[in-house]
C-alpha cells in the first residue's frame, strides 16, 4: 500500500514536471515567435524609413530654392509683403474701420449660448502676432479686466483664449472665408449706396422670413450683420430688429 502510494506520488511529480516542461516549451516557442515578428517589423520599419528618406530627398531636390525661384519667376510672381501689408497694433487695425454715420443706430448685440460666438463678439484687445506686439497688449487687457477677472476666472480664461484666437484669426486666411457670408469687403467696394441699400433690404427681409422658420440661424446672422456694418443708415436697418427678435426667441 505504502509502495503504491509512493509510486503514485512520484508518477504525479513526473507528470507535473512534464506538464511544466511542456508549458515552458510552449511559452518559449511563443516568445521566440513574437521576437521574430518584432524583428520582421523592425526590418519593415527600416525599409520604410529608407523609402521615406528617399522620397523626402526627392521632394526637397525638386523643390529646392533655385527651382522654387524659377517657378516663381515663370508661374507665380509672388513678391515679398510690403510694409503696408502688416498691422503693428490694434490702433492700426481700428484705423481701417469706417466711422459711424449720422443717425446710426447703436450696434446690435445678441445674447448667445455659443461660447465661440460670444468670444468673437467680445472682441478683446486686438493684436496681431505678426507684428509681435501681442505681449504688450496682453497685460493691458488683463489690467482692464483686472477686477472682473479676479471674480470670474472662467471669464478671464475665455477672454485669454479669445485673444489668442484673434491673433490666430488675424494670421490665418480661413476664418475670413467663413465670414464671407457677410461680405463686408464687398459692401465697401464699388456699388453706390442707394443700390446697395435696396439689395440689403430685400436680402434682409428674406433672411428675416427664413429666420422665422429657423430662428437659431437668425441670431448668428443678425450678430454678424451688426458687426459687419455698424454704420448703416436707419432706413436700411428696419428689417434687422425683426431678425434680431427672431433670434432672441431661441436665445436662453
Amino acid at each position: 500500500m505504502m509502495v503504491s502510494a509512493n509510486r503514485f506520488r512520484s508518477i504525479g511529480w513526473i507528470a507535473l514536471l512534464l506538464v511544466c516542461a511542456a508549458g515552458v516549451m510552449v511559452l518559449a516557442f511563443r516568445v521566440n515567435a513574437l521576437r521574430s515578428q518584432v524583428h520582421r517589423t523592425e526590418q519593415q520599419i527600416i525599409a520604410l524609413r529608407k523609402e521615406k528618406l528617399y522620397l523626402e530627398t526627392e521632394v526637397e531636390t525638386r523643390a529646392n530654392q533655385q527651382q522654387l525661384k524659377l517657378w516663381n519667376d515663370v508661374e507665380f510672381g509672388y513678391v515679398a509683403p510690403t510694409a503696408g501689408q502688416y498691422l503693428a497694433n490694434e490702433r492700426q487695425l481700428a484705423a481701417f474701420a469706417k466711422p459711424d454715420g449720422p443717425d446710426a443706430p447703436a450696434p446690435i448685440r445678441v445674447a448667445s449660448a455659443d461660447d465661440a460666438v460670444a468670444a468673437e463678439a467680445a472682441f478683446p484687445s486686438v493684436l496681431s502676432d505678426l507684428a509681435g506686439a501681442a505681449d504688450i497688449a496682453a497685460p493691458v487687457a488683463a489690467s482692464d479686466e483686472g477686477e472682473k477677472a479676479a471674480a470670474r476666472p472662467a471669464d478671464a480664461a475665455e477672454r485669454a483664449s479669445a485673444t489668442a484666437n484673434l491673433g490666430a484669426r488675424l494670421a490665418m486666411v480661413t476664418p475670413l472665408k467663413k465670414d464671407g457670408k457677410d461680405k463686408p469687403g464687398k459692401h465697401k467696394a464699388g456699388k453706390s449706396d442707394k443700390a446697395r441699400d435696396g439689395d440689403r433690404k430685400a436680402g434682409l427681409a428674406k433672411s428675416a422670413k427664413a429666420d422665422a422658420a429657423r430662428p437659431g440661424k437668425g441670431a448668428k446672422l443678425a450678430a454678424g450683420k451688426a458687426e459687419a456694418r455698424p454704420g448703416k443708415s436707419a432706413k436700411s436697418t428696419k428689417p434687422a430688429p425683426k431678425a434680431a427678435k427672431g433670434g432672441s426667441k431661441t436665445a436662453p
Binding site: A33, Q65, K69, A83
Partner: protein, 581 residues
C-alpha cells in the same frame, strides 16, 4: 490412398507454407522496424530542430533599428532643419561587359549607338569618351550620380551591360546653394573646402552621425542672397560677387555666398577655381565702407564732440600725395555730410586728428590684422599696413593713417567688414563670426570696441547715408536700412586702375534695433544700362541690398513698418544735399 497422398501432400505444403509465412512475417517486421526507425529519426530531428529554432535560435547578424538607419556620413542641415547635405543611396551607371556572358560582344547595339543614346539622356556627357570606354570592354563607372528617371531611360535602351547599383553617396538636395559653406565630398569620401572638411570627424563618428548637424545658415535667406547677387552680377557684367548676412548680435552667419559658384553634387567637376571663397579668403581694399569705422573711432576717442564742426573739403596735400574726393563738395563739410557724400578728404582729416595709435587699436580690436574668425578652412590673411619701427610693428605713418581711414592701403575680406559693422551697430561689441547655430541665451561674451553711445550715433549716421546720401538705392521701404557704399579701384601694375572697381555696400537693418548686417560686393562691375552707366557701389551694390532686404526681412523676423525709424532729427539740420561716390 488417394486421400492419404492428398493429406500428405497437404501436410508438407502446410509446413512449407508455415515457413514461408514465418519468413515473410520476419521480413515485414524488419521492414516495419526500419521504417519506424526512420520515422522516429525524422521526428526526432524535426523536434530537435523545432526546439533549436524555438528556444535558442537568434536571428543572424541582428542589428538594432538605430544602427541600420545610421547614415554613413552625418547630415548637415540649415538652422531650421532643412537638409543641405545628406548621405543618400543614389543610382550610379556601371558598365559591366560580362553581363551577356563571356565571349561575344558585351553590348547588343554598337558602342557608337549606345554612346549616342547616352548623350541624348545626359547632354553634358562626352560622346568620344563614352565610345572609348564602351569599346575598351573593361568594367567601369560611366556616370556617378544618375537621377531615377534618367536611370529608367537608360534601362529602356535594353542593354544588360548597363547596370544601376545603388550606392551611398553625398547628396546636396539644394544643388549649388551654399556650396562654399558646405564644400563637397570627393569620391574617396573625404570632405573638402567647407564645413564638410571642418566637420569631418564629427560627421563620420558613429556616436554623432545619427543626429544632423545644424549650421547657422538659413536656406531661404541664402537662396535670396545668391539670387539677388547673381542678378546684380549679370546686370553689371561683374567678374564675381560676394555677399554675407550676419546676425548683428550673435555673429551667426545667416547666409554666405561667393559667385560664380560650383555644384557640389558633381564632385568630379567640383575641384576648380570656383571653390575659391571670395567672402572669407579673398582680401580687397574695401574703400569708403571703412569711413564709418574711422568716424566711430573718432567719436569714441572724443576727437569728434560736435558733429556740426566743418572741415575744409579741398584736395589735401600730404607730402607728395594728394587726397581727392570723387566730386567737388564745396568749401567745407561737417562729419554727417562727409559720410553722406563719402568725402575722403574730411575722413582723412578726422583720422589725422585721431592719430595712428587710436585708429590702429580700433582696427586691431575689430580683428582686421588677423585672419577672419570663422570655422571655414579657407581664410585670407589681410594686407595690414606696415608701421614704422622694428619689423613694421610701430605706429603707422601719417599718410597710412589717412588712407586706412577711407579704406585704402588695407585689404581685408568682406567677412572682416561684416563683423566690424556688426560691432558698429549692435552697441559696440565685436563677436567672432560663426557658422554654428548659437543659443541666444549663451552668447559668447564679445569684445567691447565702441561705446554704446557711439554705436547709437553711428546707427543714425548710417541711416542718414541711406535716407539722404549715396545709399539711397538700398532704402527698402519700412525696413530702416542703414549702410555705406564703397567703391575702391583695384590696384594693378602702375597704380590703381580707374575702370576696375570693387563696389561694396555694407548695410544693417532695421536701424532702430539692428538685427542683421548685410555685405554685398561686386568684383569689377561694368557700367551698363541697368546701372545708368555708372560703376560705383551706389548704382550697383546698393540696389542689390535694396532688393534683398525686403525678401529676407520678413523671413528673418523683421517686420517692415513705415511708422518706425531711428530718430535722426538732431542730425538732419546739419546736412545739405549732394552726391558722392
Amino acid at each position: 490412398m488417394n486421400s492419404l497422398t492428398a493429406s500428405a501432400a497437404i501436410a508438407t505444403g502446410r509446413v512449407q507454407l508455415a515457413n514461408v509465412r514465418q519468413n515473410a512475417l520476419v521480413t515485414a517486421r524488419l521492414r516495419a522496424l526500419w521504417i519506424m526507425l526512420l520515422f522516429v529519426f525524422l521526428a526526432l530531428t524535426a523536434c530537435v530542430r523545432i526546439a533549436q529554432l524555438g528556444l535558442f535560435e537568434q536571428t543572424p547578424e541582428r542589428t538594432s533599428l538605430a544602427e541600420a538607419l545610421l547614415p554613413s556620413r552625418g547630415e548637415i542641415t540649415d538652422r531650421n532643419g532643412v537638409a543641405l547635405a545628406r548621405a543618400f543611396a543614389s543610382y550610379s551607371l556601371w558598365y559591366n561587359p560580362k553581363a551577356l556572358g563571356e565571349g561575344g560582344a558585351p553590348l547588343v547595339k554598337t558602342p557608337e549607338e549606345v554612346a549616342r543614346a547616352l548623350v541624348g539622356i545626359f547632354p553634358d556627357a562626352d560622346y568620344a569618351d563614352l565610345v572609348t570606354r564602351l569599346k575598351a570592354g573593361k568594367p567601369c563607372y560611366l556616370r556617378r550620380r544618375v537621377l531615377p528617371e534618367d536611370a529608367n531611360k537608360v534601362f529602356a535602351l535594353g542593354e544588360p551591360a548597363l547596370e544601376f547599383p545603388r550606392e551611398e553617396q553625398r547628396f546636396y538636395p539644394q544643388g549649388s546653394l551654399a556650396a562654399h559653406v558646405l564644400g563637397y565630398v570627393d569620391e574617396a569620401g573625404k570632405g573638402h573646402v567647407g564645413m564638410e572638411q571642418v566637420l569631418e570627424p564629427r560627421l563620420l563618428d558613429p556616436a554623432y552621425r545619427g543626429t544632423p548637424t545644424a549650421l547657422s545658415i538659413d536656406a531661404r535667406a541664402q537662396g535670396a542672397l545668391e539670387d539677388e547677387l547673381g542678378r546684380g552680377m549679370m546686370e553689371t557684367m561683374a567678374k564675381g560677387a560676394a555677399g554675407v548676412i550676419l546676425d548683428a548680435d550673435s555673429g551667426e552667419v545667416i547666409a554666405l555666398a561667393s559667385l560664380p559658384s560650383f555644384n557640389p553634387n558633381r564632385s568630379d567637376l567640383a575641384y576648380n577655381d570656383l571653390v575659391f571663397n571670395r567672402v572669407s579668403n579673398q582680401v580687397y581694399e574695401l574703400g569708403s565702407t571703412f569711413k564709418p569705422i574711422t568716424i566711430a573711432s573718432a567719436i569714441d576717442a572724443g576727437v569728434i564732440t560736435d558733429l556740426a564742426v566743418r572741415y575744409p573739403a579741398h584736395p589735401l596735400q600730404v607730402g607728395k600725395f594728394t587726397i581727392h574726393d570723387s566730386h567737388n563738395f564745396g568749401a567745407s563739410l561737417n562729419v554727417p555730410e562727409a559720410l553722406i557724400h563719402s568725402s575722403n578728404v574730411v575722413t582723412a582729416q578726422v583720422a589725422d586728428k585721431l592719430g595712428p595709435v587710436a585708429l590702429k587699436r580700433t582696427m586691431e580690436q575689430l580683428g582686421m590684422n588677423e585672419r577672419p574668425t570663422i570655422e571655414l578652412p579657407a581664410r585670407g590673411f589681410p594686407l595690414w599696413p606696415h608701421g614704422g619701427g622694428e619689423g613694421g610693428k610701430g605706429d603707422w605713418a601719417r599718410l597710412t593713417t589717412m588712407t586706412v581711414s577711407y579704406g585704402h592701403g588695407i585689404a581685408v575680406t568682406p567677412l572682416h567688414l561684416a563683423s566690424a559693422y556688426a560691432a558698429l551697430v549692435n552697441g559696440g561689441l565685436w563677436r567672432p563670426a560663426t557658422l554654428y547655430k548659437v543659443d541666444p541665451a549663451h552668447l559668447p561674451p564679445g569684445r567691447r570696441v565702441f561705446q554704446a553711445s557711439t554705436s547709437a550715433r553711428l546707427r543714425q549716421l548710417l541711416r542718414m547715408i541711406v535716407a539722404d546720401g549715396t545709399g539711397r538705392k538700398a532704402d527698402a521701404p519700412g525696413f530702416r536700412v542703414g549702410g555705406k557704399t564703397g567703391s575702391a579701384e583695384k590696384p594693378g601694375s602702375g597704380g590703381y586702375r580707374k575702370t576696375s572697381l570693387i563696389a561694396t555696400f555694407a548695410a544693417a537693418f532695421p536701424m532702430d534695433k539692428p538685427r542683421y548686417v548685410v555685405i554685398v560686393m561686386l568684383d569689377e562691375p561694368q557700367a551698363t544700362q541697368q546701372t545708368s552707366g555708372q560703376r560705383t557701389a551706389a548704382w550697383n551694390a546698393a540696389p542689390i541690398v535694396g532688393r534683398l532686404v525686403p525678401r529676407i526681412g520678413p523671413m528673418l523676423g523683421v517686420v517692415p513698418d513705415a511708422h518706425h525709424d531711428v530718430d535722426i532729427s538732431d542730425l538732419s539740420p546739419l546736412v545739405g544735399s549732394g552726391d558722392g561716390e
